[in-house]
């Protein structure tokens, strides 16, 4: 029985990792959480104010 243990564990780890990465992506890095920096947003960020555009401002530029 032991002969398959190694591969079972490797596959198990890969599955766990895939699930964990998908969850991280969905919770924190999905498109809804991601500001899209257009050239207008970058120009605004670098040239207009000392601070940055808010996410709303950035997304507005899309």
């Amino acid at each position: 029985m032991r002969r398959f243990t190694y591969w079972q564990e490797i596959v198990g780890v890969l599955c766990l990792k895939a699930v964990g990465l998908v969850l991280l992506y969905l919770f924190f890095f999905a498109p809804a959480d991601r500001p899209t920096a257009t050239q207008q947003a970058v120009a605004h960020h670098l040239l207009t104010t000392p601070g940055s555009a808010t996410r709303d401002e950035v997304n507005h530029d899309r």
Binding site: F4, I10, V13, G20, D33, R34, P35, A37, A43, R55
Partner: protein
């Protein structure tokens, strides 16, 4: 306003992710070559023990690869979410080597790893050997493209700023690929990986010998690791010297900060072995210096000066002033794209635009910055001297220790006395964490020495981060820490379990064992 907490947390998150990912990379790099060497001996001699060695170390390689693979992908997540301005500003260049790495090297590596594990009884001996070396080639090519991307952040060649698109655009792929900083970093980094692989094999084999099990297996493994490790340890120091030389040509402030050298010394400059950098007084106390050494390392001459921090800050101040002109011209050219005078001014000063952007931390009106603000911005170009100074020295010290260690191992191996000195075996086991510590210190020096820039001289870090809240970065950071900590525990558990089981465990682990016979040599 810029949320500095969000910027610093984004840096922390990226740094932790990169450092975690790099726990696996050096062992993959090093073990892949060790596997190639062992299987080459197997194919040449036909002796089964070399095949067993390849399969056992291959099994541990597989655990490390499975644990490490895709842990770096979260850095790509972060580029989009935490570093959106960076991604827009330099994505055209930075994305190219990353994409090539994903498409070419990763698939090459991953495909041949599959063949390595499942091809033992399905391929000829020479065919399988070719696969094993292709695994090593794929791993090294992955490292090459990543370091091309990183080298460009350190020395942004082959690119130009386009004020219409507000981004850096590629002008010469050849310059990016053959960037001397990238090439030097590549060979230095993969050599460090080879040392890691050699130390790992030495340590595990030493453990077997201390336990009195798998004696022949362990002695042969140590013999390979001793000679490979000696070559790698010598390479890593020589190539590290090359990396330092390229840094001294392209990142003078980084070198000055690593050396805590506040003033320019008459050539050839001395090297500070020990000292206590005093950031407030801007001097290094209780310094013990070796005459000439830094001048020889950094300039490879006796008559060239190595500039100190204070003169470099004065130089940065003039670049900040030039950057103010570029900044004003950029604003005008954006508003009036046909303004020839603004475009001419921008073109004349665009190389200093990044220095002008440093003022954004202090003023709304960059073009009207006060002398005090300009001085502050110029001093911002100095990285954090104290941790750089000591991290570099620990890294170099470990590097020289490895030369001595592997020279001793090589000598014992030549005398066939590797298993005779228990103190040496204990030492080999004890030093197991050192290559990882030195690698992480190396990355710390490289990346903290680049501050305050994400792209050296082009884009300040605080302007690269997205406009997200510190709270959201805290949340994602907590998610990372939880998930990656769990993975680390599983990695350690699996690695220790299969090390303890020893080569006989491979009889149940390797797909090669699922069918009788051996690949023809």
């Amino acid at each position: 306003m810029i949320d500095n907490a969000a910027v610093e947390l984004s840096r922390l998150q990226f740094g932790l992710t990169a450092m975690y990912h790099f726990l696996f990379v050096p062992l993959t790099l090093g073990l892949s070559i060790v596997l190639g060497i062992m299987e080459s001996v197997y194919v040449m001699t036909g002796r089964k023990i070399w095949r067993d060695m390849t399969q056992y170390w291959g099994m541990l390689f597989g655990i490390n690869f499975a644990m490490g693979v895709a842990t770096g992908i979260t850095m790509e997540f972060q580029f989009g979410t935490n570093w959106a301005y960076y991604s827009h500003y330099v994505g055209d260049i930075f994305g190219v080597p990353l994409a090539i790495e994903g498409l070419m090297a990763f698939f090459l590596e991953a495909s041949f790893i599959g063949l390595f594990f499942f091809g033992w009884n399905r391929m000829s001996g020479l065919g399988h050997l070719a696969v094993t070396w292709l695994v090593a080639l794929g791993s090294n090519l992955s490292a090459l493209w990543i370091l091309v991307a990183n080298g460009w952040m350190q020395n942004p060649v082959g690119a130009a700023f386009n004020f219409h698109s507000m981004r850096m655009e590629l002008t010469s792929f050849k310059d990016v690929l053959f960037n001397p900083v990238a090439q030097a970093k590549f060979v230095h980094t993969v050599s460090a990986g080879y040392v890691t692989g050699a130390v790992f094999v030495m340590a595990v084999s030493a453990w077997f010998l201390l336990k009195g099990r798998n004696i022949e297996f362990a002695k042969r493994s140590m013999t390979v690791a001793a000679s490979f490790g000696l070559a790698a340890a010598l390479s890593v120091v020589v190539l590290g010297d090359e990396s330092g030389y390229t840094a001294s040509q392209n990142q003078k402030m980084k070198v000055a900060a690593i050396e805590a050298m506040w003033e320019t010394e008459p050539a050839p400059a001395s090297f500070t072995i020990f000292g206590i950098p005093d950031l407030a007084a801007r001097q290094t106390r209780d310094a013990i210096r070796v005459p000439w050494m830094l001048g020889l390392i950094a300039t490879r001459s006796l008559d060239q000066e190595v500039p100190g921090i204070k003169p470099l800050v004065a130089e940065a101040e003039s670049r900040v002033r030039s950057g103010m002109l570029a900044y004003g011209a950029l604003a005008t050219a954006r508003a009036h794209p046909d303004d020839a005078a603004a475009k001419a001014t921008l073109e004349a000063h665009v190389k200093d635009l990044g220095y002008g952007l440093l003022l954004k931390r202090y003023t709304d009106n960059v073009t009207d910055a006060t002398p005090a603000q300009i001085e502050q911005a110029a001093w911002d170009t100095v990285p954090n001297v104290l941790p750089l100074f000591w991290s570099f020295r620990f890294m170099v010290g470990i590097g020289f220790f490895f030369i001595a260690f592997f020279a001793g191992a090589f000598w014992l191996s030549a005398k066939r006395q590797l298993d005779r000195h228990r103190w040496f075996l204990r030492l080999a086991l004890l030093i197991l964490p050192l290559p990882w510590i030195s690698s992480e210190l190396g990355w710390f020096v490289a990346e903290n020495g680049r501050q305050p820039w994400t792209i050296d001289g082009v884009l300040p870090t605080f302007l690269s981060a997205s406009s997200i809240t510190a709270g959201s970065v805290w949340l994602s950071l907590a998610g990372f820490v939880l998930f990656y900590s769990a993975l680390a525990v599983i990695e350690l558990f699996l690695m220790v379990k299969y090390i303890r089981l020893g080569p006989e465990a491979d009889a149940g682990a390797s797909p090669a064992s699922l069918a009788p016979g051996r690949a023809g040599a």
